[in-house]
Symmetry: C2
Subunit: 375 residues, 2 copies
């Protein structure tokens, strides 16, 4: 088996053996490739952490069962550099980490019918307190619906409270939504969200670095949070008490250079203490609606939003990658993990609507002022 070991399978075996977010894994994968690391673990080389070696025997026993379980759930294993790997996740590899969590996942389990490249082109994370108020629930649902309605996937954690409202808001708007979980993609956690998770998988994606069947553990929610932040272009916290886990997601988003946003609320509400503090400490922008989330994350002005309403979802995802500096088609396609043909088609459409220009060197947004002048 070792002779035929592919990097993809080596990453799978490592994923089943080493707890996700273990900062030692980043160091190992900086020094050697996944197949070398797996062989070192399997052979029990003395410099490899003992727990990894001890767990490797069990990994070999359960790998086929795990793959069979994934197949039954409609989930597959995706590794960096291959189609379907979410843009931005690799940014985690060169961060100092938070607490004892660091590094990008070695691979991800992805369950769902949607095309990850399309869904994850311009996503927004919407997270917050499990014990939210009805006000927070309404805000999360409205903001998620606004984003999804304009073709931006809503990323959240499938938890009670704000997370569920964000997913539901996106689903009701008919837009894509993605649950990033702290357990296997086939595990219904929380149990009451079994139907919600099924709908998310049908219309979007459920993503996890934990193997199918894996149960959530307290530590895993913190590990998972970094992934919500990394997959999202911007993260909005809707409600968070003083020590809410969503502030950990916001911290990761900040470290990753993502747009960090919070929704204000009544100062008399404990559920808004953490969000207000984040604004006061300069760790997040204040946003009051989906239009402001898109403006802050993608630089889409209110005027742009009117013009982009006419544009197809595919073209819109290309548009958000553009800015004032012309970029070659190939660079835009590479960033989106798409071929040049569909990207060129999208750019032609954007050009037709007057929201993108090709100056010969590359493609750029047509600025609002010159659009106004041309009308």
């Amino acid at each position: 088996m070792t002779g035929a070991l592919s990097a993809t399978r080596a990453r799978l075996l490592i994923s089943l053996t080493v707890e996700a977010g273990d900062p030692r894994l980043v160091e190992w994968l900086d020094r050697c490739d996944p197949t070398e690391l797996w062989r070192a673990i399997e052979r029990g080389r003395p410099d490899v952490p003992r727990p990894w070696v001890e767990r490797s025997a069990e990994t070999r026993r359960r790998v086929d069962e795990t793959l069979a379980r994934a197949e039954r759930a409609g989930a597959h294993w995706v590794v960096p550099g291959t189609p379907g790997w979410p843009v931005g996740v690799e940014d985690l590899d060169h961060l100092p980490g938070i607490g004892d969590v660091a590094g990008a996942p070695v691979g991800l389990w992805v369950r769902g019918g949607g095309d990850p490249t399309t869904i994850l082109a311009a996503p927004v994370g919407v997270v917050g307190a499990r014990g939210c108020t009805t006000y927070g629930a309404e805000c999360a649902s409205d903001i998620a619906a606004d984003c999804a309605d304009r073709g931006h996937a809503v990323i959240s954690g499938a938890a009670f409270g704000i997370d569920a409202c964000a997913h539901r808001g996106a689903l009701v708007a008919g837009g894509p939504t993605v649950a990033v979980t702290a357990c296997g993609v086939d595990v219904d956690y929380p149990r009451a969200h079994a139907a919600l998770l099924r709908r998310i998988a049908e219309e979007g994606l459920v993503i996890s670095e934990y193997a199918p069947g894996a149960e959530p553990q307290r530590h895993r929610f913190l590990v998972r949070n970094r992934l919500i932040a990394a997959i999202s272009a911007g993260v909005v916290v809707v409600e968070a008490a003083a020590r809410s886990g969503s502030l950990n997601t916001l911290h990761w988003a900040d470290q990753l250079g993502r747009t960090t946003m919070v929704v204000p609320g009544p100062v008399t509400s404990q559920a808004s203490v953490g969000t207000h503090r984040a604004v006061r400490e300069g760790r997040a922008h204040l946003v009051t609606c989906g239009a402001e989330v898109l403006a802050d994350t993608f630089g889409i002005t209110i005027e742009d939003q009117g013009e982009l309403a006419r544009v197809s979802a595919a073209a819109r995802r290309v548009w958000v990658q553009l800015d004032a500096t012309p970029k070659p088609l190939e660079q835009i396609a590479a960033r989106l993990r798409l071929g040049t043909v569909p990207v060129h088609r999208a750019l032609r459409e954007l050009h037709g609507w007057g929201v993108a220009v090709d100056d010969g060197e590359g493609w750029a947004r047509r600025d609002t002022a010159s659009r106004g002048a041309g009308q």
Copy 2:
């Protein structure tokens, strides 16, 4: 009469003749002193604006009646550079102005039993929508009570809604409060606030640049707003719809270099649209309570607030003038418009509590770290 004309009386005559906030007045007083200007108006010199000349006859007729009316109301006329002139008002003289309003008042009518120098040493403006929500009313009242309870006067405009809640919150906390009005200090406007204005005058001050008996006019509220901002060390807007007049006060505060703050609220409330926008546009800090208002305005940390709770109100007002750089006693006294004897007494008290130090060159705050180390 012209031979004996004092600058104080010239300012009074000008005040009765020239509409407050007229930007031409700043230019005139830059070029000549008040007695020269009044004589130019009185003689109808051709370079003086015609309406000033036309109104001067009426001013001469009604000046004695105005003074008698002021006396009956317990109000007196205060001019720059004399005791009782509020610190900070002169900052208005070197601003470009907003709209067609510019310049410091030529003098002020002050009604009330309190000592202006003591009351106005470290004041906070709390303003907002007339049509406020019960949430906004509660916030304004709580913040005002927190500030007043710690010895900081609460400045507001005596209007319905947030203003009234701010004054009442301060009064209930037993602290000083100051109404700056757009009509004469003896005019009960709004009529329903007659009793509130009487209480404010008894326990604090009612201040106006309009003569006793003057009625409020739409334009005068905007003129008045600059005075609330100038007298206050920091201004908090509690609720403001998109085009609220309180945002005009915030704009003046910003131009004057005062601390600008707003209280967030539900994003679903129209009464918080203006405050949220101010945060998004970087025109104001977000604050959620009186302690944060004092922290942002005077650099009083939560730890300081604990220590300062033991300090007398007089000493506290001196403390807020200190910072990390030692300043001579005389400079501190001059800034407060107080003699060196009471300021020295206050500094000895602050030294006794360990919150101020004298390094021989001058007095400074004792920083939190060294206070901690000394305990």
